[in-house]
Symmetry: C2
Subunit: 198 residues, 2 copies
């Protein structure tokens, strides 16, 4: 049987992260059953996103304008840049509301396997930005994975000659974390970075 438009919708939905074949079927059915409301709304929003969304030329964030709303925000300090792997990480920090400077989205990590070197990550652009924008501090907020930490280490080496302050996020037990469920790496990091409290 020829593939129907519905089967193609299910296959396309199944490619989204977090959706498997089964949930893609349920989602497609839900959309088709609510054709005039939810399917129409999603379709309209996708058209608008396709037309409007773009990558910020300054920091790599995704927004309807470039420079993005964060780069344009004059209440945010230019003097510190938080370096993250992905836009999703930027969003996570923004949800926390813990940072009032600017961002730099790498778009990934250094990876020998995926053939991503410093050029592919645009690290030259980052270093140029640090030099020209009077940046006082860069905060390394890459993931605490081998790739993320390797990338952070490389950036540290490259940025050190620029005389900028370089920091990274603290590592330890997450809030609400139970020691019994923590891996040895986390426990070891938390022990090493222990703070004197009395």
């Amino acid at each position: 049987m020829q593939e129907t438009v519905l089967e193609r919708l299910i296959k396309t939905l199944a490619k989204l992260p977090g959706l498997g074949p089964r949930s893609a079927r349920r989602a497609a059915l839900h959309l088709v059953k609510n054709k005039e409301t939810q399917l129409k709304q999603l379709s309209d929003l996708l058209l608008r996103c396709h037309a409007e969304m773009q990558v910020c030329a300054v920091c790599g964030n995704i927004d309807t304008v470039s420079p993005c709303y964060i780069c344009q925000d004059e209440r945010r300090s230019d003097s510190s840049i938080c370096i993250v792997e992905e836009v999703a990480d930027l969003w996570a920090l923004e949800r926390g509301g813990v940072f009032k400077g600017k961002y730099h989205v790498l778009g990934g990590t250094l990876s020998a396997i995926e053939a991503r070197g410093p050029e592919e990550l645009g690290l030259g652009k980052l270093l140029m930005r640090i030099k020209t924008d009077n940046v006082e501090e860069i905060i390394l907020a890459t993931n605490v994975t081998v790739e993320g930490q390797t990338t952070a280490h490389y950036i540290t080496e490259q940025a050190r000659p620029l005389g900028v302050k370089i920091s990274r996020l603290a590592q330890g037990i997450p809030i609400g974390g139970e020691l019994d469920y923590m891996d040895e790496g986390t426990l070891s990091a938390a022990m090493k970075a222990r703070l004197v409290v009395g």
Copy 2:
């Protein structure tokens, strides 16, 4: 801050079954990052689904034509109708390839709480179909839940005067099922319906 088109896309995706706020964010980001391929493709397919998909006037299935491809299939017998709650259930049975008759999709169950009575489910239309289409057997394939079984019981009562054979799917231990993981209801049903094998 005003809600952006991206935030609205995330909220709309989060309404899909199987997607929460977190996976909706990941999916939206994935789409926007692959704007010219995946976002475009999904957008096009949704537009086509919106234009083409319709409910089959005969059985309640969803297809690009009405009567649907199953109702039109002359190799399938008209003499038995399998009654399911949702289109997803029809798909599940079709994946199994276990049934070669026609279907009837109720679109839900009888429910006092959700104020769905026999009229809302269109049971009159089902009974009319049984009478006029020379149906010999109806197979009750509603879910094995209180609502599904109540609905099946009600249909049985209504269809009995029509002199049609009425059956339901067998209940018992699923294939690959381990007794230790089965609930008492399933074990009890399997025991009651035990078969003599020697």
